[in-house]
Symmetry: C2
Subunit: 455 residues, 2 copies
Amino acid sequence: MADSVQQYLKENESRLLEQLDAFLAIESISTDSSKKEEMEKAVTFLTDYLNDIGFDRVERHETGGHPLVYAEYMQAEGAPTALFYGHYDVQPADPYELWESAPFSPEVRNGRIYARGASDDKGQVFMHLAVFEAMMKTNGRLPVNVKIIIEGEEEIGSEHLNGYLEQNKDMLQADFSVISDSGMVESGTPTILYGLKGFTGLEVTVHGPSRDLHSGLYGGAVKNPAMALAQLLATMKNEEEEITIDGFHDNIETLTEAERKLMNEAPGENYPVSTGVPETAPEKGYTAKEHTMARPTLEVNGLFGGYQGDGTKTIIPSKATAKLTSRLVPGQDPVHVQNALVHHIETHAPAGVTVDIKREPLSARAYKVDPDHPLLQKAAASYAEAFGREAVFVRMGGSIPVVETIDQLFQVPVVLLGFGTPEDNLHSPNESFPVEHFRLGMDVLAHFYTEAGEK
Amino acid sequence: MADSVQQYLKENESRLLEQLDAFLAIESISTDSSKKEEMEKAVTFLTDYLNDIGFDRVERHETGGHPLVYAEYMQAEGAPTALFYGHYDVQPADPYELWESAPFSPEVRNGRIYARGASDDKGQVFMHLAVFEAMMKTNGRLPVNVKIIIEGEEEIGSEHLNGYLEQNKDMLQADFSVISDSGMVESGTPTILYGLKGFTGLEVTVHGPSRDLHSGLYGGAVKNPAMALAQLLATMKNEEEEITIDGFHDNIETLTEAERKLMNEAPGENYPVSTGVPETAPEKGYTAKEHTMARPTLEVNGLFGGYQGDGTKTIIPSKATAKLTSRLVPGQDPVHVQNALVHHIETHAPAGVTVDIKREPLSARAYKVDPDHPLLQKAAASYAEAFGREAVFVRMGGSIPVVETIDQLFQVPVVLLGFGTPEDNLHSPNESFPVEHFRLGMDVLAHFYTEAGEK
């Protein structure tokens, strides 16, 4: 089946690229309230295309914010059902003057399509639709049942998505989920992303005197809140980057040697070169790759108190604040970890000060699917077939909230089929996407959906 | 001799207060370039008055900034020479709307003279001149030789004072120095301030990655500079407020039991009430009074790095900075202490980051005169005589740079005869000075200068 589909895609490539250009030309900037008509144009583009392809049901759904496109094809009797998620909204394009070609006038240069959204996420969404078109045109059917949701608020925090998913849980139930909103570790290297980290956080403010005090008159009598904060933070991690908070690691997964091998074999960044640090600083007993992919972190995202201007101001500041976030791995419960942080702070605050804690309301569990899961193995085989190279299996230190939501709500594996590259300039001027990845990526998808339809 | 002088001061009190009002009415705000004429008026007021009193030599000296008033009386043959320092400039008075009476229209209410400069320092300078007048009018002579410098740049950092003192070292040489630019521990309690702290400082910036990094993608690979800074600061002081920096305490004075007794007997602040802290936090083995007066301090004056806005930004900041200052006690060399801090930072910086240190160029040694020095005992007796209460002996955690300069340059004791009170609102709206302290303070001065003239 895949061969004829690939043939179709090859023969129709220039027409499909033109169609993609038309999609990319729509200025669907979700954060810009003056672009509501453009958002509607994108919705119309998608619903028209999905109708043309031959989906059974194609609908524009209200969410309370920007509309969401829903479509379904349920005629693959006996085959599993895929829930495809994507987003049609894009980041703003300013500063426009830094673009070599206009962000909404797609242009191919040096083998890349330059346009806002080429990689994130309109380009990757379009690839799925083009493959569905090719399958319908060549075989008259899709190898799996497909439910599609394409939202318009991803770049502004997906405010209405969770509510929509919960309200339409039965309608959206599927056997697995597919998302193409990520990338490969490097151009040309197939990458199976099988895990993401969870997230929790809080802000702690150490309060001392009710006003900034003269450091001469009060130094020695009054505990300095900035020093107290430093001392408090220093109790949370030792010099070997081990997090020293009771309960933080409760129920944490054990990293297997097999997984460590996968991670360390994956191509990685040369951190000193890419970030300018003198050396990496992973947790004792783990490599930087292992720590970023599979060990929890605790980071000070911001720190402030007292005088920040030029020169000297001899005060004891009245307070000092640190913003902290943790990235979590499978097994860790975000609320339990946040409670452990709060408890640690409350029990380790130095004498002479008081602490005030603001809990970060957003949180997420880590997501992980077994890299040996048949669907991931099928995905890996599909990549290898198209790219001519074995796929690497990686986890990512970041979080993609929708993945965790789908995982929790539908209890199904999420297959992350990313085709982006580190050079795509997501959210920046001159966003682009390699034409070759458009081509090979569609081959991967054709192969994958076909394989997924087979028992 | 003192009795007739006191009699004169009493009989002339209302005229002297009118004269003080005229001095306080001059808007001698040194930082305000539109007030140059007012600065000249203050100079003229002082030179006219000093000439009227009968000083031998009364001069307006150029400094490169605001002029300085110099005067001398050298006819007390065989008697020691006093170098009196004061300043005629004042702080700005804004916000004017917070003053109950206009800042440059002196008004007596509830036993206090309300005006900018009433306490700091025109009021206290005038008291010395009035006593000199009384002595000349009643006895035709002063009991000591007197050299007077009254500068116009104290409130803007005394930029030209050190140069002036050095250039005129021979002219200004004296046997002791007298300054009335400080206060008493509480209204009505004679206070001998016999020590001030020195000062050094630096700013340390911990550098990590060359830009803020995504905390998910890089957390675990790259050392967090804000956490590194916290860990570094935490190595400088233990939980018992002991400074743990090699070399910091070198050559430090040992606090005698006699001094401890003096300090602990002095009236002091109820810190939790006055500052709102839950409890005091002095160094282990010392009381809050002992630590503020006589133990060195290390304070974080400011702390900053990364995100400071609302909510969460999941970054690893590229750098974090702390501003540190130390107050020093006798024996400590500011440069040696700064070197010790630098060495500590360089040897304790965590792996994975680099540190950049900016040394604070200003520094000062501590100042201390033996509380048993005959001049201080004479000062104490003079206070006790006038106020009817025994003087308390205290040291102060703050620094008065001119005291340390005079000490270093002339190698003479500096007698700090302060008459201000904690309620004077220095540098704030509604500055005031108690009329009773004007009256009693002049008695103290009459008594002190007389005693100082006697061998």
